[in-house]
Symmetry: C2
Subunit: 212 residues, 2 copies
DNA sequence: GCCTGGTTCAACCATTTGGTTAAACCATAC
DNA sequence: GTATGGTTTAACCAAATGGTTGAACCAGGC
């Protein structure tokens, strides 16, 4: 199992800083984030940031490396091979949406890095693949197998996986917009999230069902 | 029809600045963007930015207001009522994906504002709704009508619309990640986009088909 | 020619920001 | 008690950044 919490050898103070930094970087981006802002979020003196994580770049790289590990491992974590593809998909969607809800900031930071050009993505993803050997290709393989077994119609598994990820992830990224355009999501976000799990399973499972 | 290009009364210089600012804000975010960076992207002296757009905040608000107008109008533009729902959906997906491809930076800026908390979203979206009277609810209505006509099974139209938007939009946002994880998308992005239109129509249309 | 107006630029200024430092704090060991 | 070592803090510094300014530039009108 991948190391999913921030590195466990962290002291309390380091964890506090790490968590605050993740939150601020996810919101403001690599360059938009201010060291003072992170210090405030951690309710700690600014000099502590430099005492524990040399400088801004080092702090960001630590937080981002962790984020990539989260992202890479998220597929593996949510995927439990069940007797039928329908069950596997249902469990995956439920698990993945819950994962994103729980690791909201990390997912938003991944998006930030993508928007910023994704220069750090390559090496860190290769790194995470080596350490955890759980690339998203496991999910792709699951779809491939289901196609071969005739459980679903022939589809490009890469597009199918991308579609699942998009639909489970994007509404968290665009949460402010969703809540403005759809008041029920504003009134009770958690209920909206649960509704969405049902909707996504229904739509995607039917969408993948074999031709009649 | 909505005013989709940057305000037409702009001079050449203003347009150059505006376009450069859109690119940089979309990449770096509201606070991450640097005025010098925008000036460089526009190949223009930094003082010009202040000559034409008072200060950073004003520049951002102008660019962002335009972006919201784009986003709000995008649904209307891509939606052409066709004889059957299948055709309407096909045309919408094709049109919307093309729209996002063309207005890539504007869409990424929308995401940036969402990540940053979306404080500006509310007023600007209300503003855009007044001016253009083309909120995304038109799309919601289209789905509702198709449900009532029995062309598709009963689904929550808000979730259905969100699913369509997510799948058409997110892979542009996460393009660097997609290209790392799926080399064909790196080798020929445009071909990948075309593939994706087909995949999305197939999956979503089957997913919405009436129960047998 | 030479005004006149908008436009462009290099140099400059004030504030913010990332980062440093030296002293203070506070456990624990002796 | 006090020496020791890691931890925390306020004050400080240098560079980056947003923003200003006064002069130069360059049309078009006279």
């Amino acid at each position: 199992m991948a190391d999913l919490s921030a590195p466990s050898e962290y002291s309390d103070t380091e964890r506090t800083i790490f968590d605050a930094a993740l939150q601020v970087f996810a919101r403001e981006g690599r360059n938009g984030a201010r060291m003072q802002g992170i210090a405030d979020a951690a309710d700690i003196n600014k000099a502590m940031l430099h005492y524990y994580f040399r400088d801004k770049r080092t702090l960001y790289e630590n937080v981002f490396a962790y984020t990539v590990r989260q992202f890479m491992a998220s597929f593996d974590i949510s995927l439990t091979e069940a007797p039928t593809f329908a069950e596997t998909l249902r469990v995956f969607i439920d698990g993945y949406v819950d994962f994103v809800r729980t690791h909201d900031a990390a997912m938003r930071l991944m998006v930030q890095e993508n928007l910023a050009g994704g220069t750090l993505l390559g090496e860190h993803m290769r790194e995470a693949t080596k350490t955890d050997r759980t690339p998203p290709s496991i999910l792709v393989n699951t779809i491939e197998d289901a196609v071969e077994a005739g459980e679903i119609r022939p589809v490009d598994p890469h597009h199918a996986v991308l579609t699942v990820i998009s639909t489970c992830l994007y509404f968290f990224v665009a949460r402010p917009t969703v809540q403005i355009l759809h008041p029920p999501a504003e009134r009770d976000w958690d209920a909206f999230v649960e509704e969405r799990k049902d909707h996504l399973f229904d739509l995607i499972y039917r969408g993948l069902a074999p031709r009649d």
